[in-house]
């Protein structure tokens, strides 16, 4: 036991030293630096479309990014279906029945050729949307995780990254169906992940209250960010890839900078008393849209850390949110079984 104690002391000592070192570069705070910037005007977005069709809680949604599918998005619901929507017409392009109805995540490949999903089955299932006979079929079932699949994101048509309740993330080779790299280090369930704009790194948020930045090729953890007091449910990159945004059950969102290696600001309000479930940054990074347990989405001025808008329209928890690749529309998915398009 003595050795463990000594080791812990050493670790704590190093942590203190690091805290001091980080303070040294704090020649200002973000709040001070933006004091002269005007607050963004009140943002009032309206529901332009409501996507109806799911019969149970929606747990995840993801926009297509390729120019051919930038108006398409995929959603996953506990009714055991993946639906690919044409958000402009509200038509269902595909309605894919799943083997397991306990789905928790879904993803759209950047090429638009595939979608993926997973959940309590501990697997990531890849579906080919562009099959020869027009039918959507399971292409691969990636099985290796020993816990639920919380999130998945494609790097390209041959690689996908998954995060799991087994506290690890895995980079998979889709063609061979095998694990390329296992990213271990979190001490709690990994709840969410996001890939950097240059596809070289990814970040994961976990129930150990920390967020970790991973180098995909080097297979190492580059940085760890702490500060949250409860599970991190949602995570995303600032559009230029230099900062990370997290959302937590402690009712706050935080912005961490990669180059300063520390927290820049916290998005909180005394009137917000529920967890953050999901988040997305607007195209310029000026706005942060975050979904909460109280059925609303709060829109924050990311620099000034003040609320500048609310999206109210769902009748149950907002479970997922995404901004389209051209930044034009925001899509929310809820436990009320509906998706809404806002702008």
């Amino acid at each position: 036991m003595g050795e463990m104690e000594e080791l812990r002391k050493e670790a704590d000592n190093l942590k203190d030293q690091i805290t001091e070192a980080r303070k040294v570069v704090q020649d200002t705070t973000l709040q001070e630096a933006v004091a002269g910037t005007t607050l963004v005007g009140r943002v009032q977005l309206k529901t332009r479309k409501t996507l109806r069709g799911h019969l149970a809680k929606i747990y995840a949604m993801h926009w297509g990014t390729d120019t051919n599918c930038s108006k398409l998005c995929v959603s996953a619901s506990q009714d055991g279906k993946l639906i690919v929507w044409d958000t402009l017409t509200t038509n269902k392009v595909n309605a894919i029945p799943l083997k397991s109805s306990w789905v928790m995540t879904c993803a759209y490949a950047p090429s638009g050729n595939m979608v993926a999903c997973g959940g309590l089955d501990n697997m990531c299932s890849i579906y080919n949307l562009k099959g020869k006979d027009g039918n959507v079929k399971v292409m691969r079932e990636l099985a290796a995780h020993t816990g639920y699949l919380s999130c998945c994101r494609f790097l390209n048509d041959s690689e996908i990254i998954t995060s799991s309740g087994d506290c690890t993330c895995i980079l998979w080779d889709i063609e061979t169906g095998t694990e390329k790299t296992i990213f271990a280090g979190h001490l709690g369930d990994c709840m969410s992940l996001a890939v950097s704009p240059d596809f070289k790194m990814f970040i994961s948020g976990a129930c150990d209250f920390t967020a970790k930045l991973w180098d995909i090729r080097e297979a190492t953890c580059r940085q760890t960010f702490s500060g949250h007091e409860s599970d991190i449910n949602a995570i995303g990159f600032f559009p230029n890839g230099n900062a990370v945004i997290t959302g937590s059950d402690d009712a706050t969102c935080k912005l961490y900078d990669l180059r300063a290696d520390q927290e820049l600001i916290t998005y909180q309000d005394s009137g917000i008393m529920c967890g953050v479930t999901s988040l997305a940054a607007s195209l310029s990074g000026r706005l942060l849209l975050a979904g909460y347990d109280d059925f609303n989405v709060n829109i924050w001025d990311m620099l000034k850390a003040e609320r500048v808008g609310v999206l109210a329209g769902h009748d149950n928890r907002v479970s997922c949110i995404g901004v389209s690749s051209d930044g034009m529309a925001c899509c929310t998915g809820s436990w009320d079984s509906f998706l809404k398009i806002w702008n």
């Binding site: 200002t28 630096a33 943002v43 090429s111 300063a260 008393m273 310029s284 436990w335």
Partner: protein
């Protein structure tokens, strides 16, 4: 009903068993702090009074309007709608309730509300079984009071439970009788309060059909219950071996929470050492970088600025998207290419323009190499090795037709990678070439005619007669046309745009 802690009245704080720390713990604490302050009349809380109604008194109530006002004042909420929304959340979770309604929302009027007893607080991690609910509904039918009459949905629930528990209904009936006896011993006013609190508890755990069940947990969080096999505590102190495992997540194996091992801590130490050596950017620089990025891109952010010509979602006019996709880019789009090389290459038209410029400088091999490598990364595995070799032959081999300039270290590394060619064999080389283009060619591109013409929208107006007219007052090649009547002709066949001003009249 359990006599113990409840009789201590409404002042005791709900105790959270540390073993049952739920992800909602922090939220509950925040709300409970507000609830305590709300009820503390001496410290500025709301006035909790007994209200006289018809033939009776209603003890211990407060109006919805009072609660809304308090929330606005004490939590600095400016908008009453927001205060109502927050208050409704607090009610839906079960911390306060309307005395005459099963639906748990807060109204900004004279509707009367009561505070929930800490015994029933959500932070106590209640997951009451159907046996408890059956006992509750059963005892309600035994008491002959108008206010305790079952609502339609409750009567339906009772009927369903009677069928489900047909074999042990006698047991449930007896438990209900016992509860009625205990209740009768209590003071009348106290009973009114306790009955309403008990009802509010069931309104949370067995909500009115159509109302959101706030006790529903994200299934990902349910998995983390430290001891899911533990028999859940009963509201009425009933210990029953045959309690049904009602929810599906009960039967799944629990994920043991990891405790750090010695190896974990050692790894952490080496990681921390690496972090200590890290060179960090100053906050002021970071802040500047964030501010300038958002400033640059805000005009392109449809959620933060108005978009020209119109937002297709609102106007149903696709022009905006047509313009974005066209190979003939607008000035607005071209301006973005000047923000960074990354932005220029994101746009296919930008790639084309940059390539055209590099061709004019006879250095297009760099960009072509970069594009080839980007493409390689997206190829199906079976084609990768062959394509990687092709790229080597084209750009890096001795006597290559489009020879690129790599430093010896990068060259050797790439050559080594090519022994076992893969999608990422050229990562290092690609980064080098990108940096080269960024620091060298890109800046010249932005100053070039090819770029400037697009940026300043110097379009051919009358292409058939091969003349270009520039409107006076435009900035041309960095110089403002200072003669309002200057007209510049471009003669066909000339390279680029050599302007030859005419002698004015």
């Amino acid at each position: 009903m359990e006599e113990g802690s409840r009789d201590q009245g409404q002042q005791c704080v709900g105790t959270t068993d540390p073993e049952e720390d739920s992800p909602n713990t922090i939220i509950y604490r925040k709300i409970e702090d507000v609830i305590m302050r709300l009820q503390d009349e001496k410290a500025g809380g709301v006035a909790i009074r007994t209200v006289k109604s018809f033939l009776s008194k209603i003890p211990s109530v407060v109006s919805g309007a009072d609660i809304v006002q308090w929330l606005m004042k004490n939590l600095s909420i400016e908008d009453s709608a927001e205060a109502i929304h927050l208050g409704s959340l607090i009610a839906a979770l079960g911390y306060l309730f309307p005395i005459s309604d099963h639906v748990l929302t807060l109204k900004d009027d004279g509707t009367l509300y009561r505070f929930q007893a800490p015994y029933f607080w959500p932070s106590n991690c209640w997951e009451p079984e159907n046996t408890d609910y059956a006992i509750y509904l059963c005892k309600r039918t035994m008491q002959n009071k108008a206010r305790l009459e079952l609502a339609d949905y409750e009567a339906e629930n009772l009927a369903r439970l009677q069928r489900a528990f047909a074999r042990k209904w006698e047991f449930i009936f007896m438990q209900a009788e016992a509860q009625v006896k205990i209740d009768r011993k209590k003071d009348k006013a106290e009973r009114k309060i306790l009955d309403s609190q008990e009802r509010a508890f069931w309104d949370v755990h067995r909500p009115v059909p159509g109302c959101v069940n706030t006790t529903e947990m994200d299934i990902r969080k349910c998995q983390r219950e430290k001891n899911p096999q533990k028999v859940k505590k009963s509201v009425y102190g009933v210990t029953d071996d045959t309690q049904t495992q009602s929810s599906v997540h009960q039967s799944l194996p629990s994920q043991p929470s990891r405790k750090p091992t010695r190896e974990d801590v050692q790894k952490e130490i080496s990681f921390l050492n690496m972090q200590l050596d890290r060179h960090c950017m100053k906050m002021s620089k970071v802040a500047d970088s964030l501010m300038s990025y958002t400033e640059q891109f805000m005009v392109y952010d449809p959620l933060a600025s108005t978009v020209e010509p119109s937002n297709p979602w609102i106007s149903d006019d696709m022009t905006f998207w047509d313009l974005e996709a066209s190979r003939d880019p607008s000035q607005h789009r071209v301006k973005k290419w000047g923000f960074s090389l990354e932005e220029a290459l994101k746009d296919p038209a930008g790639r084309d323009a940059f390539l055209k410029f590099l061709e004019s400088e006879f250095s297009s091999e760099n960009l072509r190499f970069w594009l080839a490598v980007q493409d390689l990364k997206r190829r199906p595995l079976e084609n990768v090795a062959a394509r990687a070799q092709e790229i080597w032959q084209e750009f890096l081999a001795e006597g290559a037709p489009s020879s690129i300039n790599l430093d010896s270290h990068s060259y050797e590394l790439t050559s080594h990678n090519l022994k076992d060619p893969g999608r990422y064999s050229y990562e290092d080389a690609q980064e080098h070439i990108f940096k080269l283009m960024k620091s060298d060619s890109y800046a010249r591109f932005l100053r070039s005619n090819i770029y400037q013409d697009l940026l300043l929208a110097r379009k051919k107006l009358v292409s058939s007669s091969n003349v270009c007219f520039h409107f006076p007052g435009q900035v041309i090649d960095g110089q403002a046309a200072d003669r309002a009547d200057a007209v510049i002709l471009t003669l066909p066949g000339l390279e680029g745009h050599r302007q030859t001003p005419l002698e004015g009249p």
